[in-house]
């Protein structure tokens, strides 16, 4: 699916096929309309990836074979299992007792690529279920902007109920 198709799907989810609620256009300085929907999509990618990583989704696994001083990849979410490295800031450091190469590869959960990383006509390598979940989540963010009650939508996606702001803690 291309970013344009993703936006079209979000519009279908929020009944805005005619682009009346979220107009076409917009840019990073004035994020409204399509640009705003793209921002919601990126935010959905973020949340979806973190959630799937916590659930142990193997499709998010990646491997780095670095050495001490290697920067963490930008899509790094968390390490998979206990590995002989420590992370300071965003820099990897190996506990290397034997001092020989090669280092053991380190597996980690990676965030899916952002929708805005791709051009309008480029295909984003999501799987179908990932596209659906991300678009549904982005639609919830879009609806929430207009202060619709989205708690039921979130529950349908398995995200649990959103606490009422006035509820007793």
């Amino acid at each position: 699916m291309t970013p344009a198709q993703m936006v079209a799907m979000v519009r279908r989810f929020i009944s805005d096929e005619q682009a009346t609620g979220f107009s076409t256009g917009g840019n990073m300085e004035q994020p409204e309309g399509t640009q705003e929907l793209l921002t919601y999509l990126d935010r959905a990618v973020d949340d979806y990836s973190k959630r799937q990583a916590a659930l142990g989704d193997v499709r998010l696994l990646k491997t780095i074979t670095g050495s001490s001083g290697t920067m963490l990849p930008p899509d790094f979410l968390m390490l998979c299992g206990t590995v002989p490295v420590s992370v300071e800031g965003r820099v990897l450091r190996y506990y290397d007792d034997e001092g020989t190469m090669p280092y053991m590869p380190v597996r980690y959960f990676a965030r899916l690529p952002y929708v805005t990383d791709y051009g309008d006509t480029q295909n984003i390598p999501y799987q179908r279920d990932q596209e659906m979940s991300i678009c549904a989540l982005a639609a919830i963010y879009a609806l929430n902007k207009h202060e619709f009650n989205v708690s039921q939508d979130l529950m349908l996606l398995g995200y649990g109920a959103v606490n009422n702001a006035n509820a007793e803690q």
Binding site: V58, C80, G81, T82, R107
Partner: protein
Amino acid sequence: MAIPVVRLVKSLRYALKDMQGIKYSDYELVESINQAASLLYGRLSERYVYAAQKKAVLNIPSTGYAPLPNDFVRIHQIVGDDGELIPTTKLPAVEGTYRIINDTIYATPAMYSLEYYYVPNRVRDLGDNLDVPLSMEAYIQQISLAMFGNNPALAEQIVQQCSQTLAVRELSHFTDAGPVQVLGGKI
């Protein structure tokens, strides 16, 4: 013969229900295999189980000493052309005697046959081989699992079982021991 580490890791992952490697990294499993091997071989040599023995040719140069093999734990015997050497406390060692200090052996310059108890070298990753006979594979697996599950008591129990099984491994000519067994022989 040696056991490929990848095969041990595969069976550990199977037992731990983590074939995808989501919960545990390869490093954790390799570490528990190392712990298991050193525990098992430490105990085997403590109990003089011959299965933990190795033989090497030792060349003592004219300096009168040589380093011991790096997997050396304790000596079984050292034999020269004139027969077995006996331990001494005096240095330099005279003909027919030897002395071990730390990781160095002192004896008169010659070629010797060294029999010793060893502990397998640490393995590092899935491509390595653990220097252990294939017949030990099941024990190493079980001990690794016990170590991984932070259960040293269970590990010791399996080690004990393994020592008993292996204790008479090198001896043949055991016939039916009869209903009562005393030191492996018949009453």
